[in-house]
């Protein structure tokens, strides 16, 4: 009985947990990135990968994936990010480009190099890109 219960918990847990992967285009100069570096890239503190300026993509506001990204990678609340971008705009910084779907993100990854974004791990099948960081959403 206990065995069935454990299997049930693992399956339902697996169904509801979200795993996020930070991905770069297939020729992205780095093979993996630290959380600190990803944070710096998405907050417009680091703009260059190698010699080139990187295109950074984010998902729309209030998408579960974005909430996961902000909590687990940027480690900032929505209000805190609001405060950050208000000041950053005044200083000439720009937030990442917003993409409305994974398809749009993949399209940019194929056509702009270097470029970086993040998707749900399940959305990555049959696509050409580099996985730079992987994290399970809390």
């Amino acid at each position: 009985m206990l065995k069935y219960f454990i299997v049930f918990i693992s399956i339902t847990g697996g169904l509801f947990s979200l795993e996020l992967v930070v991905i770069g285009d297939k020729n992205f100069p780095e093979n993996n990135l630290s959380k600190e570096t990803i944070k710096a890239i998405f907050l417009d503190k680091k703009r260059f990968i190698g010699e080139s300026k990187v295109l950074v993509m984010n998902h729309e506001h209030e998408k579960p994936l974005r909430i996961c990204f902000e909590k687990n990678i940027l480690e900032k609340s929505e209000k805190s990010l609001e405060r950050y971008w208000r000041k950053a705009y005044y200083q000439g910084k720009r937030p990442p480009k917003i993409v409305s779907s994974n398809e749009m993100l993949f399209l940019y990854l194929q056509s702009v190099q270097p470029s970086i974004g993040y998707v749900d791990v399940n959305a990555t099948l049959d696509k050409e890109f580099k996985v730079l960081y992987q994290i399970e959403c809390e």
Binding site: E36, T37, A40, K46, R47, F48, K53, E60, H61, S77, E78, K79, S80, L81, E82, R83, Y84, W85, R86, K87, A88, Y89, Y90, Q91, G92, R94, P95, I98
Partner: protein, 317 residues
């Protein structure tokens, strides 16, 4: 009529923003963004009417390693129309700067820019601050703006320093007390998680050839529920000791999603004016959306007759 139309346009454009971190308008097929801000305040000790303190346009353009940033400000327009004579309205180039990023670690900036000194001066406009009034150090201890060159070096991800150099007249007229034609400064910035700290050391020469040296330090804890910011500056002027010190501690409590409470304690000494006093401030901030702020604060001076309520409305668009 035009003023009311302007306010309506700004309000409607600000309410239409969908992404909370996006401001301004990206001109299609160009790297240019145009936005701005306005702030209106009511301060009975200054003028017994609502004033447009600032209406400013911000434009920026990023192309490869170059960043252009400009801020042109129209200030001191009253809502009752009585200050519309050209002598009352100021048009000023607050910033006009070109930055070249040598790499992520090094950058070089030329033009007129906010001096890289202290915390407050990094974003010295009402919408970006938690209070309408500014601490005494702002505009009294170092030049708010520099027309010259700034070199920035990131030592690593947590530490950076900058060097400022000016040896010419200001390209714009100053809207603050200190007008300089020479300014040299060294500033250090460090950060670890939610805690950061700054040190600054500089020397400037005013248009009347008076030379001053200043030194400042500050620290900020910027947490989810509350933040604390403290700064202390000292200054030494040739042949006199006009402003021995000025410092403040300000805490902001983000007690509701859209509401903050602010408490500030200041202390300063000004020998030129013969004043040594404390200032206490209690404030409330309401931000219905990310780019609008309504503020009310009470300011209490222990010596000067400047105790008062101050109210403001500001928008970043």
């Amino acid at each position: 009529m035009h003023k009311h139309l302007l306010i309506l346009t700004l309000l409607s454009s600000s309410l239409c923003a969908t992404e909370t971190e996006s401001y301004g308008w990206d001109i299609p097929n160009t790297p240019i963004n145009i936005g701005g801000y306005l702030d209106m305040s009511y301060d009975k000790k200054r003028e017994d009417k609502f004033l447009f303190n600032d209406i400013a346009m911000i434009f920026s353009a990023n192309q490869n390693r170059f960043d252009l940033l400009g801020e042109v400000e129209l200030s001191h327009i009253s809502l009752n129309g009585q200050s519309n004579s050209s002598s009352d309205i100021d048009l000023n180039v607050e910033r006009l700067q070109l930055t070249y990023a040598v790499s992520d670690e090094q950058s070089l900036r030329v033009g007129r820019f906010n001096s890289d000194i202290g915390y407050w001066n990094q974003a010295p406009i009402t919408i970006l601050q938690d209070t309408t009034t500014t601490p005494h150090i702002v505009g009294n201890f170092f030049p708010k703006a520099t027309t010259g060159v700034l070199f920035n070096q990131n030592i690593n991800e947590n530490n950076s320093f900058s060097l400022t150099f000016q040896d010419n007249n200001d390209i714009a007229h100053q809207d603050n007390i200190i007008e300089v034609n020479r300014h040299k400064a060294l500033a250090y910035y460090g950060v670890k998680d939610d805690l950061s700290w700054r040190f600054s050391l500089g020397r400037y020469q005013e248009s009347n050839h008076k030379k001053s040296t200043y030194m400042g330090m500050g620290s900020e804890y910027d947490g989810e529920d509350f933040s604390i910011l403290a700064e202390l500056f000292i200054q030494d002027t040739e042949l006199s000791d006009e402003k021995p010190y000025s410092g403040y501690v300000q805490s902001t409590w983000h007690f509701k999603e859209e509401q903050d409470a602010v408490l500030r304690f200041e202390s300063y000494k000004d020998n030129a004016l013969g004043i040594e006093e404390n200032i206490y401030l209690l404030g409330y901030v309401y931000r219905p959306t990310s780019n609008i702020a309504l503020k009310a604060e009470y300011v209490h001076h222990t010596k000067l007759p400047l105790n008062r309520f101050v109210y403001s409305f500001s928008v970043l668009f």
